[in-house]
Symmetry: C2
Subunit: 411 residues, 2 copies
């Protein structure tokens, strides 16, 4: 069994929802890949007793307790005192910590005041974890089976310390780890319950935790852990032709790679998504090799200027299969690309018709071989509808250029 | 004293660091504004016992326990069973829940299978919380002093349910709350430490927790709590002319509103941001009133086709002040808009020159009165650089159309 980890983040700005806690996300990923099981991640405010209670609760049952935040010099930095209280020890000035704090302040041209000197206090029995990029040092100690590590809450400082000094402590103090066998399959165009049904047919014995599933804007990720990582090929076969990638692949990276591989270019014509499809494509480093550009044809006159005929708009409306097709064809033509992708629709909250209510989206993909168009309806409000349209357009683009990737009829 | 809340999020994808948990962030903010004190936010995996233990731990000491995730139809959706175990009751099919699940599946053209029917199971004694945008319903119950609410983990669904049916339950069941006096000022174009310095000069007595600050892609939010909410006017004066909004304002909403108010239209020409600027503008409901469209001029030939002269590109390069100006002017002309916004730059990781390394961005805003262009450099990698460019373009657009909003020289 993997060693068990607990992460504790402290900060009033976190419990008031002023700042999104991301250290736990970073640590969760790092811990997973380092062979730990994260049993719990907790956020508490800047208050001594609740923080000490979380530490006390975690120690007997964890192999690693990692605390982020509360190590600065101000009154709301309480991690030193809370850990000391949980361990039943006092805090004392650590000479090495004092020297480091003094040096890092000097480098910034700032004085070593009594306030700053608080950062050199450590719970008795704890050792310094140097902070290469900031002022506040961290600390660590062993208590029974648990290793306790306290790091500052500034993400860049925490990450640098985790990858440097903490990694060395873990290697020395907690060497018995088996980073997981693990495979992620990513598919698009199948509902989550349909994916579940097909996976269950291949892996009928799987217990919760062995196979996980995560759906976002109609892309479903299937996580195969432990013995099931070896079944990835069979699971993949059961989900074809809807599997677009594995592990860290996204629809955008896979489409860009497919275009690069085939020496093809692409362009977009966006109404509904207002540029989001181009933004997704250009989030991929190296997209400039294949992405030529596009037109955000938001107003009706912009669609006409791009090359959608006024007759089509008059006969079918801006939100229609015919307009989506005309947009995709115009994207190819105007931007001289092999693949043209287009979106139009009603993002909501207002807009829509009886036949095409808010959430209705038309997506088209045009190539030299012709144009395909799909109508879909997505729930969840403006942001969700637009994200589904972006993903759907990327998937249709992939279907148009990549042999073997296909969208299920009816999705 | 405020009523106390505990938030519990469940998901293997959360403890493995595959997905950033954001529901806790949303709920923390909502709870704060609703007059609750969030004492703890916990993330646990998809496992029955740890989830049930968190619920058991929270119930005696909280006025509100809010669970997110684990309500779908699949084997790793365990919230119904864990809550039932914590409450010491069985799960049973709820007729109202079954009818809702069936109806929502029908609307999607999908069958009501035994797997889907799991979503109609509720712990005995719990009442349905309808899900207006998705399939999985939530539930709630009262246990002693605590109100327990379970909502699906899909953020859009959770948010819609929180603002609709859950708000009604809270109003009826937990009416004794005193939402805090609270004001948020939002500024752009000042560094976080400069904002801190100016705020401290106005509010020298502020204690930790009374004034908070949060910076994201160069926009800084200043949170004034309690007695300091009344000082918002003075703090605002100290931050002018860089304050663009308050409370829930974003750069995009404020720019769209300013354009609407003045009867102006806008358009974009995007290289670096690849459509992200248009995407940000069109995220605002009603943007179609003022946003005409734009061109994603990613490839060099696309910039020429849009109207940037080959001489400018040859003399200055695609990443230059002259090209940014030419793009902004072309956006106005091509898309017949009053305001043209443009971005060009090196997003990284590769690209850049000695004088303009990766992270260098040029942003231009053109109106009938002329064109302004700025060069900025942003750290943090491709996504961060592009987000800074989007925010900067929105702020320059605002500066161009709104009397009184200005960017500090040197930012």
């Amino acid at each position: 069994m993997n060693p068990r980890a607990v992460v504790i983040a402290t900060g009033d700005e976190l419990v008031r929802g002023e700042r999104l806690e991301t250290n736990g996300f970073f640590l969760a990923r790092e811990l997973f890949h380092a062979g730990f099981t994260l049993v719990r991640a907790v956020i508490v405010g800047d208050a001594l007793d609740p923080l000490a209670e979380e530490v006390r609760r975690a120690l007997p049952d964890a192999d690693l307790v990692c605390i982020s935040g509360g190590l600065g010099p101000t009154d709301d930095d309480l991690t030193r005192g809370a850990v000391a209280a949980a361990l039943g020890v006092a805090v004392r000035e650590d000479a090495a910590a004092a020297a480091l704090v003094r040096r890092s302040l000097e480098a910034r041209g700032r004085p070593y005041t009594p306030l700053q000197a608080r950062q050199a206090l450590l719970p008795d029995g704890c050792a310094l974890v140097p902070n290469p990029t900031g002022t506040a040092p961290g600390f660590w100690c062993r208590r029974g089976r648990a290793l306790l590590v306290a790091l500052p809450g500034v993400p860049g400082e925490l990450e640098a310390m985790w990858r440097g000094p903490v990694a060395r402590v873990l290697a020395a103090e907690c060497p018995e780890r088996a980073p997981p066998g693990w495979k992620i399959l990513r598919c698009f165009g199948l509902g989550e319950s349909e994916v579940q049904r097909r996976v269950a047919a291949v892996c009928p014995e799987a217990r919760p935790g062995e196979i996980g599933m995560c759906a976002e804007a109609w892309a479903v990720a299937v996580y195969l852990a432990g013995r099931y990582a070896a079944c990835a090929r069979d699971v993949r076969a059961a989900l074809e032709p809807n599997v677009f990638g594995e592990d860290d692949d996204t629809l955008a990276t896979v489409l860009v790679q497919a275009l690069v591989r085939r020496g093809l270019t692409c362009a977009v014509a966006e109404s509904l998504t207002g540029g989001g499809l181009g933004y997704a494509l250009t989030s991929v480093p190296g997209a400039s090799e294949v992405f030529r550009g596009g037109t955000i044809a938001y107003a009706e006159a912009e669609k006409v200027a791009l090359g959608v005929s006024p007759e089509i708009l008059a006969a079918h409306g801006a939100v229609s299969a015919a307009t989506a097709e005309a947009l995709a064809a115009a994207a190819r033509r105007r931007h001289e690309a092999a693949l043209g992708l287009a979106t139009t629709g009603y993002a909501g909250p207002s807009g829509g018709t009886g036949a095409d209510p808010a959430g209705t989206v038309y997506i088209a993909a045009a190539t030299a071989a012709g144009c395909r168009v799909r109508r879909v309806w997505a729930a969840g409000g403006r942001a969700a509808v637009r994200q589904v349209a972006i993903n759907y357009a990327l998937a249709m683009g992939l279907g148009a250029v990549e042999e073997g990737f296909g969208l299920q009829p009816g999705m």
